[in-house]
């Protein structure tokens, strides 16, 4: 995901305010890079992964996405590193490593 800048109030003069402060741009908060919050990162072992998609459904941030080969991978732009995916993976295919590790 290319990094656009998240809109903030500082971008607006009073004249730019919509009537009633209504936001008409659907879902525009999705520019926020919550991946910056992370202290741990999930790593997928494709050998062990059974493509069950449980990690996908249990992610509170919708940060796990299906990939072309049918695996489910964390979108590091959004992943906050909570570790839920690693904790619930029935195949033990996901491990959390420290964010500083490469």
């Amino acid at each position: 995901m290319t990094e656009k800048r998240l809109k903030t109030g500082s971008d607006f003069t009073w004249k730019d305010m919509e009537v009633g402060n209504i936001v008409t741009e659907v879902g525009n908060a999705s520019v926020r890079k919550t991946g910056d919050w992370r202290t741990k990162r999930p790593i997928l072992d494709r050998e062990k992964c059974t493509k069950c998609a449980l990690c996908w459904i249990y992610c509170p941030d919708a940060a796990i996405k299906p990939s072309e080969e049918g695996y489910y991978e964390s979108d590091l732009y959004y992943c906050k590193g909570c570790g839920i995916c690693a904790s619930i993976c029935p195949a033990g295919a996901i491990t959390m490593i420290e964010e500083e590790e490469k």
Binding site: S10, W14, M17, V19
Partner: protein
């Protein structure tokens, strides 16, 4: 019960007709003729005849509207927010404590720009509990950002309610409107009211087209919260838009007059040409005060009356114009602003005139609290005593009228 003997022409159509109606029933009739979509109201004296009459209309099929018998005033106005947000023409009514209970919602309605119309049967605020009329409920919502007008009589209760939909819903405005009329003195008193024909109403009031209606076809977010880096801009934008609405307010008055024959103005002078002493009143007492003016004028006194109709946005220009030649301006309030500058209206009038190079001497009177009546003689007294204070000064910050026992101790 209202007198319901309408005339019918040969084709069986109802004709514009003069009937006896309480202001409550007149307001309900205006909402009916406006083809309101949603009514969410909670009963409170002296407003009860409004939701009762509307419920009766819906039950009899005279009005096709969703009637929501909510469980409190806070929920009443909250339901109205929801209804307006999906584009429904929305109406409610309340008084006194009810208006106070919905206080936080009142601010939200205006800042979210939902054009709800609400009639208030002005009632005194507790404590002690009083179901009777004064303006303390209205004064408590001065700063809430609603367009607000006051009515002198039941005809105006009907007219202003109809006008309110036209102005509030205008795409250049989109602000809610409060129509104030006095509890009991108007809400429960039958007066002759001219009801227009439906086709005239339809010509005056276009269909409501809310540009931001919540709909899955065009998802929007209403009511996002305001972090410090944007809240101030939002409020300033609201204020500027609110002041701009005056243009449509005036246009609405004119259009109303052109179609129905009755012209209203933000500030309505009564026999003020050349008058040295002016009395300013709001609401039903204006009519009583006018008789006092006539009585005094017949005795050769130089007096006149100003009826203040448009309360918010405050008509600074019209007020300054109306009082520019007077020496004395007596402002009559039906509310005390405790420990403050006397009557709230008086303090606003003074503030409006403060920077004028020439302005009349001001006197503040408070009376008519909690249903206490003001007679013609009482208003004559107000004018006399007002002139006396201007001449001789007074130790009190403001005067009271109609209170048993001499009032002292109103000091700064």
């Amino acid at each position: 019960m209202p007198c319901r003997s309408y005339n019918y022409d040969r084709g069986g159509r109802k004709m514009s007709k003069r009937v006896g109606l309480e202001a409550s029933h007149a307001a309900a009739e205006a909402a009916r003729m406006a083809d309101v979509d949603v009514i969410a109201a909670y009963p409170i004296t002296p407003q009860t005849h409004i939701p009762e009459r509307l419920a009766e209309m819906v039950a009899n099929g005279e009005l096709n509207a969703a009637y929501i018998p909510v469980e409190s005033e806070h929920s009443a106005l909250s339901a109205c927010l929801g209804a307006a947000a999906v584009g429904a023409r929305t109406f409610t009514a309340t008084a006194g404590q009810g208006l106070e209970l919905m206080h936080e919602v009142v601010y939200v309605a205006s800042s979210m720009r939902y054009p709800i119309v609400m009639t208030i049967c002005n009632r005194a605020l507790s404590a002690p509990l009083s179901v009777w009329g004064d303006h303390s409920d209205a004064m408590a919502v001065r700063d809430t950002g609603w367009i607000q007008v006051f009515c002198q009589n039941n005809q105006e209760a009907f007219d202003m309610t109809l006008w309110a939909f036209r102005v509030g819903e205008d795409s250049r405005v989109l602000f809610p409107v409060m129509v104030h009329f006095d509890g009991f003195h108007l809400s429960h008193v039958t007066e002759p009211v001219i009801l227009p024909e439906q086709k005239e109403v339809d010509r005056f009031l276009p269909r409501f087209q809310y540009p931001f209606a919540l709909n899955p076809d065009k998802p929007m977010t209403h009511g996002a919260f305001g972090p410090p880096d944007i809240y101030a801009e939002a409020k300033v934008a609201q204020e500027v838009a609110f002041r701009k609405s005056k243009g449509v307010i005036i246009q609405g008055f004119k259009e109303f007059g052109d179609i129905f024959g009755r012209y209203y103005h933000p500030v309505e002078p009564y026999k003020t040409e050349g008058a040295r002493t002016l009395l300013l009143t709001m609401g039903s007492f204006s009519e009583t005060a006018k008789i006092a003016i006539d009585t005094k004028k017949n005795k050769g006194e130089s007096v006149g009356l100003i009826n203040l109709r448009l309360w918010r946005p405050f008509p600074f220009e019209e007020l300054r114009q109306a009082v520019k030649d007077a020496e004395t301006l007596i402002v009559f309030d039906r509310c005390i602003s405790f420990g403050g500058p006397g009557g709230p209206v008086s303090s606003e009038i003074r503030s409006a005139l403060y920077n004028e190079k020439e302005r009349p001497r001001g006197v503040s009177f408070v009376g008519g609290l909690g249903g206490r009546d003001m007679s013609v003689k009482d208003f004559e007294y107000v004018i006399d005593r007002g002139r006396e204070i201007v001449e001789k000064g007074s130790e009190e910050l403001f005067e009271t009228v109609g209170i048993r026992g001499k009032v002292t101790g109103i000091r700064g």
